[in-house]
Symmetry: C2
Amino acid sequence: MASPPPQSSPSIYEQLRPLFYPKSVAVVGVSQDAWKPGTTMLRALQRFGFQGALYPISNRGGELMGLQVFPSIAALPEAVDLAFLFVPAPALPSVVRECREKGVRTVVAFTGGFAETGTEAGRALEAELLAEFDGTFRMVGPNCLGLYCPSGGVTQHPGEGYPRKSGEVSFIAQSGGISEDFARATPNFGFYSSKVISYGNASDVNECDLLEYMGADPETKIITMYIEGPRNGRKFARLLKAVGADKPIIIWKGGLTPQGALAAGSHTGSLAGSLEVWVALLRQVGAVPVGSLEEVLDTAAAFHFLGGHRDLRVGYVCAGGGNSVAAADSAYRTGLVLPRLSSETSGKIAALLPPVGATSTNPVDVLAPMPAPSALKGVLEAMAESGEVDLIIVDRVVLSSELRKLMNYSDQSPEPDEPWLSDIPIDVKKRFGLPVMVVLRENLDPNGNVMVEAERLRLRRYYQENEVAVYPTPDRAFRALGHVVAHNRRGSQSGEAS
Amino acid sequence: MASPPPQSSPSIYEQLRPLFYPKSVAVVGVSQDAWKPGTTMLRALQRFGFQGALYPISNRGGELMGLQVFPSIAALPEAVDLAFLFVPAPALPSVVRECREKGVRTVVAFTGGFAETGTEAGRALEAELLAEFDGTFRMVGPNCLGLYCPSGGVTQHPGEGYPRKSGEVSFIAQSGGISEDFARATPNFGFYSSKVISYGNASDVNECDLLEYMGADPETKIITMYIEGPRNGRKFARLLKAVGADKPIIIWKGGLTPQGALAAGSHTGSLAGSLEVWVALLRQVGAVPVGSLEEVLDTAAAFHFLGGHRDLRVGYVCAGGGNSVAAADSAYRTGLVLPRLSSETSGKIAALLPPVGATSTNPVDVLAPMPAPSALKGVLEAMAESGEVDLIIVDRVVLSSELRKLMNYSDQSPEPDEPWLSDIPIDVKKRFGLPVMVVLRENLDPNGNVMVEAERLRLRRYYQENEVAVYPTPDRAFRALGHVVAHNRRGSQSGEAS
């Protein structure tokens, strides 16, 4: 995928770039108390490995973590690219004013206590704060947890243990907590974050600005969002369509039920819409509507591993007839097809499987979770060679010799579990250029043996590192694949170019 | 819950009891090849600890695993309670005839190759087999993986590593593979199986017989099912209503889409119905319709931990506003209510939380995942004391000192993480007699640290052992709770006694 050109005004991109790639960062509101938020932010930046100039600010001065503490933004030796503000709500407008006067390029205001409180005082304070913004600098927040951009060396609050590795997926989140869960979870889904940003009350920088930024950002290939209420629905829809023409945009909208909307009101002061209106709007502009963080992550992983895949035909290889039935149900519900194999292909597969009990049509049932490695290899090769399917999902087959032993399957195989057992799906994927997905189930050990869990995690990572998407249930694999295929086929029925 | 009386004909209960509590078992079709199914079944029974008489049968005779091998069923010194038959399909009718003539009380036929093949020959063979059943003995299968009943000392094929501990949940499954996944997974969901049985083609013993048995079985308190197609819909509906009056029945129906129905046809030869018809039928008779194995397990766990809970009001304690919004959405979708707390209760909670950013109404947002233990304790107590909620869900709060350290949260708390941190939800549950559920999220560590995973598994087990249900996402917690509440309130709107 070539990196797309900036979508519209390049100025947003230039305005916000110092947030993600600051050469200098000030943290306002540090303290000798190690657990105060300003201090933990400073420590997180240090431990995360921020390479630029770092300025702690506290009116008590002194030294902290080996750094000189400055008494104020005004007293800094330079106008920083980015200031993290941990100051009480009533003091925030004056600190922001100081940032403007100094020439600070961007600020992140973590503190809550503004419009989201629903009080007249809160709204007035947010209006006072907003009055400081004259177009010369920008603010994220208030009421947020900041941002994480490993290639820029910055992390959010708290974000000390976040991965240093940068990826191609960005997350724009109105909620700090959800942005944290996303950042922590991503590597477990096989991809890494480019940028994760929580924008809270969207008082200055809002979802439209961030969407435009991610559209222009060459590092971001896939955009994910959690939003409660966009301020300008029309502009947001226009941007979704423009940015979405080049990059998939996966959106989870919170507060779509009356009860959720009530909660959203006290969270970020957002007005919510109805579920039906939102889903219809999102589909119309080519975005991908999802309903939970799990679905955001699953779907982003599918776009990461499968890119522009748009073919409906899936070959499904499983152990057990009931699981085949369930998977056929899942496939149907997500608009995918499990085509019946030709008698030639089916015959080749049948020759590799036990004569009774297995199924050589699609879904292929290899009968038990521990087929001989050579038989499994033959089945996948026959499917891939046939040209009758466009993607293969392998489910419930135990793909690691170590797991077979740990699950007491080892002595049921007539053939030694070759060391290449785990490599069979990867090998078939590479040789035939056919996408392969693996379903690796959870809760495999009834006694909670942590060695089983460790081997499951190792195997998952191994497949992901070899560009094979891994899901814990067939439902989740089909749901994610269905999103990718539907997205990449959008417009094709009405004859539009996508 | 008092153990219910037998539901209807006690004869089914008497007929099938030897399946689950055999005093003697024959395994027909063992071999010196260690990996052949008959042999692995024999080994699994031995290792599982079957205490009765065990008779391997092979026409080659000799000795196997320290046991004398008999040449035939006829040659056995007694008429066994249960015979496991691993013989090729064409030979099965004659072996079954031998069982009848010997007086064997029950048989399980594992082999496939009958009606499910869709061939004339397969159907004819199944008819020939069925002709042997004259009402004096019963057969499970053919085309199944047998049964698991820890209190009877029997396990399925394969089932060597299954838990020896017996519980109150039984699973009736048309699919062997799904029955295996259920049996392996249950302890991870906090409950144990009483009986798990896969019944394959339902040629003799079918879902109606097994439902009637589980209704009469005093060990079974909760019934779960995976079915593809019941043979007699009217009788099945009648039994669901009768048995379901005393025990919740959770049903996952496979093959409800055209594609799934096609797969079901080649799996167990079942005719499928439509989704709408099935869900409507199941709700009408008071059963709980679910759509995946995950939902079967989640829902069974909720019935196990929450029994007759029927109250709608949930107190939800979370860290982060976005998660609160999402949970409010989930609660609404499942018919549950997050009531706004009184100003008195809300005031008590507010006094314990940071002055800015937290939310003291319901959902309560404690702001960050590592609240001070004393604050968390106070919040749960204030909710429990208020009488304003009937159940509390604690989500995303990190409830273990060890996890806080591993997640780099340890030095962000102003208070030492007391050893009693994990016990707070358990303590509140016990002192106030209020059900508590915990959401313990997965993928907590970005680097796949297996120590984090081990601690998560330990903590999950700890809560489950203390009768607190644990779910990995708020969606799944609310979905399971919603099923329990809806089931226990059934009929209450129309004034029926339940």
